[in-house]
Structures are given as structure tokens and as C-alpha cells.
Symmetry: C2
Subunit: 320 residues, 2 copies
């Protein structure tokens, strides 16, 4: 983790200390999730109603995309976008398009990951996956349409920073980021992988997009470039903490709680935190990564009682 940027407090300090109690945190989490759903309803798919100016999608595509986009989920990425936008002094409204765009990218990646030629998953968020319901061909195209929609939504934001925001998202989502992480996930051999190999693929596969969520939130909130970089570093650290818990849950979780098929990593021979350091080793790594994420959060100028630290704890102790 890099040392805290010197001007970060000035960017984020006004936000520190919010939501001191567990009850307030849970209420904030629920409200943020509701807000995220609303932004997805607003931007996720074209509005083709009587007053909608947008050209419609063909009905089969719209239906499959709607099924996939509104199938639950933690909505962690839009929540982070809003959190960092407000922390930087911006409004939730200003973060609306970026929040929807991040979830669109995340959702497309799940649709393509679940394909038979990739992870071949039948279950996602407790429901049949997109290709199980609509077939493989339409699932490929749903993913393509959601990814393209993410950029369309973000490009619709006014102001000179729109192209900059789009570049942040594209870098995090593309071959050097999330897609690259998926490639490593598929190609790195479990038997020959080192903990560093696994960390690198997790930083790309999970860290890059969570980093982009925090960075884009900060950016739309008007944070300085240094503070935006600090936000990205925190998001990446949170992603690493998140992924190691995910790896452990693949071993210890059950389908009902997880909402997806457990044991997939093992069945696919994937290199994970558990395969390179064992279950106990992965639990120790989870503790260390959560500590690193907390440190990164403190570097932003958030106080210990802030939402961000509670979010780190919340994700570290999750069971799904």
C-alpha cells in the first residue's frame, strides 16, 4: 500500500465519523443498495416509453438483459461510487451515471464468466444463469450489450471530465484489468502458481473494478488527482480482501447461502488463495488484506468509525 496522499484529508475529511453505530451502518447499506437499484432502473437499459427518446433494444435482448441486471446482487460497486462521491463533497446525483456504469460492467462480466466455455455455472445470485434461461448465443450478446451500455451511459454525462471517467473505466475493465484477470484465472496453473501469481490475478480480476468504482466516485465528487489515486488504491485493497474471502467461501459455503455453485474453483483447477496457501493460510491472508484495506482507508482521512471501515469489516465477515 502506498503512503497516504498528503492532500487526502482535505478531500475526504468532511465525511469522516458518519454512521457511528452498527444500526446506522446497516441502514446506510440498505439505503445505498436501494439507491443503486434506482440508478440501474434509470440508466441500465434504454427507456423506450412514451416519453423515452432512446431507440429500443429488440425484445429478446431487453428481456434477457433485464433478467440479468435485476437479479439481486450486493451492488457493492455503485455503493462505493456514491460513497466516495459524497466523501469528496459531491452529490449522489452527480455519481448516478458512474454508479450504473460500474454495475453494468460487473454484470456483463458475470454473464460471460458463467458461460459453458468459461466457468459453466448454472446458478448466480440464487437463480439460473442467463445462458441457462436464454441460451448461450443470447447470453454472449447480453454481455456485449451491457458492456457497451456502460460506456454509453458514462459518455452521456456532461462536462469535460466525461472522457477521463470513461478512460478510467475502460482501463480497469479491459485487457490490463478485469478481462486480463479472467485470462490469468483461466491460464495460470493451480499446481505451479505462487501466492504472488494469485495476488496479481486477483488484483486484476477483482481489484481493478473496485478500484475504478472508488476512483470514479472521487472523480465525480471533485476530488484532486492525488485523492482519486488514493481512492483507487483503497478500492484495489478492498478487492483483494474481498477475493480471498470469496476463495475461502468456495470451499466452505453452500449453494443456498452463496447463491452460486460452491466448489467451482476446485473443479476447474483454478489457482486461488486456498490452493496456494491452504484454507487456514487463506484465512490468515484475509485478515492481513482486511488490515491493509483499513490502512488504506485511514490514509484517505476517514476516521475509524467511518462507513468505509465498517464496510471492510462487513465484507470480511460475510458468508456469501
Amino acid at each position: 500500500m502506498k503512503s497516504p496522499p498528503s492532500d487526502s484529508c482535505a478531500n475526504f475529511a468532511g465525511f469522516a465519523g458518519k454512521a457511528a453505530s452498527e444500526g446506522e451502518f446497516q441502514a446506510w447499506l440498505a439505503e445505498s443498495r436501494t439507491w443503486s437499484e434506482a440508478q440501474l432502473e434509470r440508466w441500465g437499459l434504454p427507456a423506450c416509453g412514451s416519453d423515452g427518446a432512446e431507440a429500443p433494444w429488440p425484445q429478446p435482448l431487453f428481456e434477457a438483459a433485464h433478467y440479468t441486471l435485476f437479479g439481486g446482487g450486493k451492488r457493492l460497486r455503485p455503493i462505493l461510487v456514491r460513497l466516495f462521491a459524497e466523501a469528496a463533497g459531491g452529490s449522489a446525483e452527480g455519481a448516478s451515471r458512474a454508479a450504473a456504469a460500474l454495475e453494468l460492467v460487473h454484470t456483463y462480466s458475470l454473464v460471460h464468466d458463467d458461460l459453458p466455455c468459461m466457468d459453466d455455472d448454472d446458478l448466480r445470485r440464487g437463480r439460473p444463469t442467463c445462458h441457462k434461461v436464454y441460451g448461450e448465443a443470447l447470453a454472449v450478446l447480453v454481455g456485449d450489450a451491457l458492456l457497451t451500455r456502460a460506456f454509453e451511459v458514462l459518455a452521456g454525462a456532461k462536462g469535460a471530465s466525461a472522457a477521463g471517467a470513461l478512460q478510467v473505466l475502460a482501463r480497469a475493465a479491459g485487457g490490463a484489468g478485469m478481462v486480463g484477470g479472467q485470462v490469468l484465472d483461466m491460464t495460470v496453473e493451480a499446481s505451479g502458481a505462487s501466492p504472488e501469481d494469485v495476488r496479481d490475478l486477483q488484483r486484476k480480476k477483482t481489484g481493478a473494478l473496485l478500484g475504478a468504482a472508488c476512483e470514479l466516485g472521487a472523480l465525480t465528487g471533485g476530488a484532486s488527482p492525488v485523492a482519486c489515486a488514493g481512492a483507487r488504491d483503497f478500492g484495489e485493497a478492498l478487492g483483494l480482501a474481498f477475493q480471498v474471502v470469496d476463495d475461502a467461501l468456495d470451499i466452505t459455503g453452500d449453494a443456498v447461502t452463496l447463491g452460486k455453485t460452491p466448489g467451482k474453483d476446485q473443479a476447474l483447477g483454478r489457482a486461488t488463495s486456498v490452493t496456494v496457501m491452504g484454507l487456514e493460510g487463506a484465512r490468515g491472508e484475509a485478515t492481513r488484506r482486511a488490515a491493509a484495506a483499513r490502512e488504506a482507508a485511514l490514509g484517505l482521512g476517514f476516521l475509524e468509525s467511518s462507513l468505509v471501515l465498517r464496510l471492510v469489516e462487513h465484507l470480511g465477515s460475510r458468508s456469501r
Copy 2:
């Protein structure tokens, strides 16, 4: 076709009359293709050399993407971007990123279309398709990476128009455009389709991206909004003329000349110009659509001897 925009001549007239002879046209086509390849070399994949500041892609992804991106092709879309940028008074240099972005989007769409769950094609541009060489999973991810790269490249353009250009590309490529056209191609039944159904799917599948190529060229060249819309209309008309010839070649062409497998539309039961109006009917439709594209070109203020009209003829009489 809409009536010509009133201020189009002022935007494009300086370009008219260029390349009067067939020899000059062929030389221009060859030079434009070479320029297009150079822009793809420059922007298509991350530059990770000693002075390259970009984060690298994992080696298997880079290799498969490189194989796919540099496998020949007419490079029609970047050629149109440059043509319209120069016609509007702009420079080839100013059109460079948009040219690469259009070809990236086109190439990703071919990779996904060729997948076993889609058209299941073994041959593209005379070579084995991406998934035949690198496997299905990597082919899905190559497509995802190329699409994302297109937006990254275009977002890197400086200036207030970058966000507008991004929106034009996303709309043309997404669910209401090219991806939507693919969905219709898969779901419209050949037996029950009308000529209008086929025309609608072709306008989305092929017309939208060619329209975006012309529009983005005009936009980067500094054309007025009305002239940009005229450029898009011409590109869509060219796309419709192109697609009907493609449909006929699927019946009459051979694999060596086409560089792809003939008879695919028929084997897949697709609704094409040939299935709804027969081969002779499709040839008549090709003549009518080429005439419509010429009319749209004349509406832009190009003279009859211009490159654009020669391009319409060239594409209408092609054998691959």
C-alpha cells in the same frame, strides 16, 4: 433516405472531385488501407515496449488479440472515418483514434459472431477463426478486450467532443444498433420474415456501425451537426448496399474467394435478402440500394467523380 441537409455542401464541397480516375481510386484505396493498418498498430493493442507507459495485457490475451486484429480485412470502417474527416476539412491525424476504435468494434463483433454458440464459423478472412486457434473461452475474452479497448482509445482523444464521439460509437455498437442486429439475425425466422424485417436487421447489424464510421469521421473533421447526420445517413445506406451483396455472395461465393465459409446463412436458417426475395430479387435490391447510397452521397455535396461514389460502386461489384 432523408433529403440532403442544406448546409452539407459547405462542409464537404472542398473535397469533391478528388480521384477522378480508376487508377487514382485504387491507389487511394490501397493507401487508405495501409494508413488504417498503421492506426491499428498504433492504438489497437497496448504499447508495452521500453517507452510504453501502458500496463500490459497477459501474453495469451495479447497474442490471440493480435492474431485476430491483424488478419487482413478490408478496413472499410477506418477508411470511411478518414475519408469523412478529410472531406469535412479535418486531418487524417485527427481521425486516427476514431478509425482504430471503429475497426476494434468491428473485429470484436466478428470474433463473437464466429463462436460455436453463434454462427460457428471455422474460417474468417481465409484463416482459422480465433476460437479455433485459441479456444472458446479466450475468444470470448478477446472480444471483450477489443470492445473495451475501442472505448479506451476513443476516450483518450482530447477535446470537448470526445464524450459526444463516445456516445455515437456506443449507440451504434450496442443493443439498439449492431448487437441488436445480431439478436434479430438470430431470432427472426427466415420463413416468416418480410423484406422490411430483413432491412431493419441489416440496418442495425451492418448499417449502424458504417453510419457511425462516417459520422465520427465528419465529427472529428469538424463538420456541423447537420452534416454529421448526413454522413451517418450515407453510411447506413452504404451498409444496406453492402449487406445485400453479402447475402448474395453467401449463395454464389466460394470459400477461397470469400475467405469465409459460404452457405452459412442458409445452413443456419437465417432471414436474408435472398430468403425473402430470392437471388434475382436480391440482385435487384442491391442495385436499388447502391442507387440510394449514391443519392445519399450526392446529398453530401460530393461530385459524381468523387471517392465516395467510386467506393459505392466498388463495394457493389465485389466478389468477397
